[in-house]
């Protein structure tokens, strides 16, 4: 039986999965499906990183180097921590993929920074909300993919520190 190959399948980018993962990130309170992280793709994360850099550029800050540097080192730290805390290991690509997807709310924050300055009470509160949003989504995906219930807040805290650094980059 002859089956035509799907165009996105040949490119290796599965738009449906990317959209699904994005929806999971945008709704941090809904429990995640553990199987969505089975194929790790870096297309979405790279897109969000570039979007973050672009919105920061629009706000007048040229900091691509810091973004990529902090992402790499932060991913390494979370990768080590997850391997220590979970009974099954994770790959570096999976960690980078999840952290990259959960960067989406930060892109929203930095696009807000284009229109109004974030230094001030409202900006600080907004940044804190976004940090909590990002880290809750990331920890939710990690614990459902790695079967680590009971440890969500323990994972969320280091993720919050990492996203806090990104927020500092965005606000100041």
């Amino acid at each position: 039986m002859f089956v035509w190959g799907e165009p996105e399948g040949e490119l290796g980018i599965n738009f449906d999965h990317i959209w699904q993962k994005t929806l999971t990130v945008l709704n941090p309170l809904k429990p995640a499906d553990g199987s969505i992280m089975n194929e790790t793709d870096l297309a979405g994360p790279i897109l969000f990183c570039v979007a973050l850099g672009a919105t920061l550029l629009l706000a007048g800050k040229v900091q691509f180097g810091y973004i990529y540097g902090m992402s790499a080192i932060g991913c390494l730290g979370i990768y080590a921590l997850l391997n220590l805390m979970s009974s099954s290991g994770v790959s570096y690509g999976c960690v980078a993929s999840v952290l990259g997807y959960c960067l989406l709310p930060m892109v929203i924050l930095s696009s807000g920074a284009v229109f109004f300055s974030l230094q001030g009470t409202i900006g600080t509160v907004l940044a804190l909300v976004i940090i909590v949003w990002c880290s809750l989504s990331a920890s939710k995906i990690f614990i459902s993919a790695l079967d680590m219930e009971g440890q969500q807040l323990l994972i969320a805290y280091p993720c919050a520190l990492l996203y806090g650094l990104f927020a500092l980059l965005t606000v100041f």
Partner: protein, 305 residues
């Protein structure tokens, strides 16, 4: 086959020898109701009753047995360290709560750690403390010099690395020295209670938690407030440490025991006072000259009227 007092090998030895002599014989092993299980620890002494209160858990023998089976992977793999991160959220919160509420007679290690020391708590508490001190120090300096026109605020990132070095060195080197010292004393005097290196690291790490809100409150530029905060934090974490290590040195020479506890508290004091002095500028008392001027003016006005 010498019979040791606490180890009841006699029955097993008989069975073994009789089986060795006659492999085909069937043997019946009837356990009496009053048989006590094999003890792994040192012989029971008079101080054991108090330690039972402190133990808070009767299955400590089981956990000792399990603890002996832990480390089997080589130390350069992740698996070796996985046993030290095997904690749930509520366990970490419980341990933090235990470090904030020192109850006399309750031993932090026996009650909360129970042969499951974790490295997650100490590592992240130290990291948070480093950030808290660095950020609060910068913020307080910024606020103190806010009105001065000649002062240009520069965020000092160098202080982050200094704070990190100091706090991580304290959290690892002092437990290491204390562990070595206790080991040395254990060889001289038989102590009932002895702690492993990781348990000591754990206690020190969790005892530093109280300094996180203290560091944030140190932003308030009042000298009296800051010193009251130091006293309170020192009281709480110092008493947690003292109550943890008192059972370990109690059996020893009175002077050595007291000297050990005093040294522990002294080092803790040094850390907190040093952090306060180095990272937080003293609030200036420059409003004093203006208040001295006003009474003079009222006196002059009273004289001239």
């Amino acid at each position: 086959m010498a019979a040791v007092d606490d180890l009841q090998f006699e029955e097993f030895g008989d069975v073994a020898t009789s089986l060795a002599a006659n492999p085909d014989a069937t043997t019946i092993n009837i356990e009496g109701p009053g048989e006590t299980p094999k003890r792994l620890g040192p012989p029971r002494g008079s101080g054991r009753e108090e330690d039972d209160e402190l133990l808070g858990n009767d299955d400590s023998d089981k956990t000792e047995l399990l603890a002996g089976q832990k480390k089997s992977s080589p130390f350069w793999t992740f698996e070796y360290y996985q046993t030290f991160f095997d904690v749930d959220t509520y366990q970490v919160f419980d341990r933090i709560k235990g470090s904030l509420l020192p109850i006399p007679g309750k031993n932090f290690v026996r009650l909360y750690i129970r042969s499951n020391p974790d490295l997650y708590g100490p590592f992240w508490i130290c990291a948070t403390l480093v950030f808290a001190i660095a950020i609060s120090g910068n913020l307080s300096n910024f606020l103190i010099h806010l009105g001065e026109k000649t002062y240009h605020y520069v965020p000092e990132f160098r202080k982050v690395s200094i704070a990190a070095t100091i706090i991580y060195a304290y959290a690892w080197l002092v437990p290491f020295a204390l562990w070595g010292f206790l080991l040395w004393r254990n060889s001289k005097v038989m102590n009932i209670v002895s702690y492993s290196f990781l348990e000591i690291v754990c206690v020190y790490g969790y005892s530093l938690f109280i300094y996180i809100p203290t560091a944030i409150l140190w932003i308030i530029p009042q000298k009296a407030v800051r010193w009251i905060l130091v006293m309170m934090a020192l009281g709480i974490s110092g008493s947690v440490l003292a109550m943890t290590f008192w059972p370990a040195v109690r059996e020893d020479n009175r002077r050595v025991a007291l000297a050990t506890i005093v040294t522990i508290v002294l080092l803790h004091t040094l850390l907190s006072v040093g952090c306060l002095a180095y990272f937080f500028d003293a609030p200036e008392v420059d409003h004093l000259p203006t208040t001295a001027v006003v009474p003079n003016q009222t006196v002059v006005a009273a004289k001239s009227s």
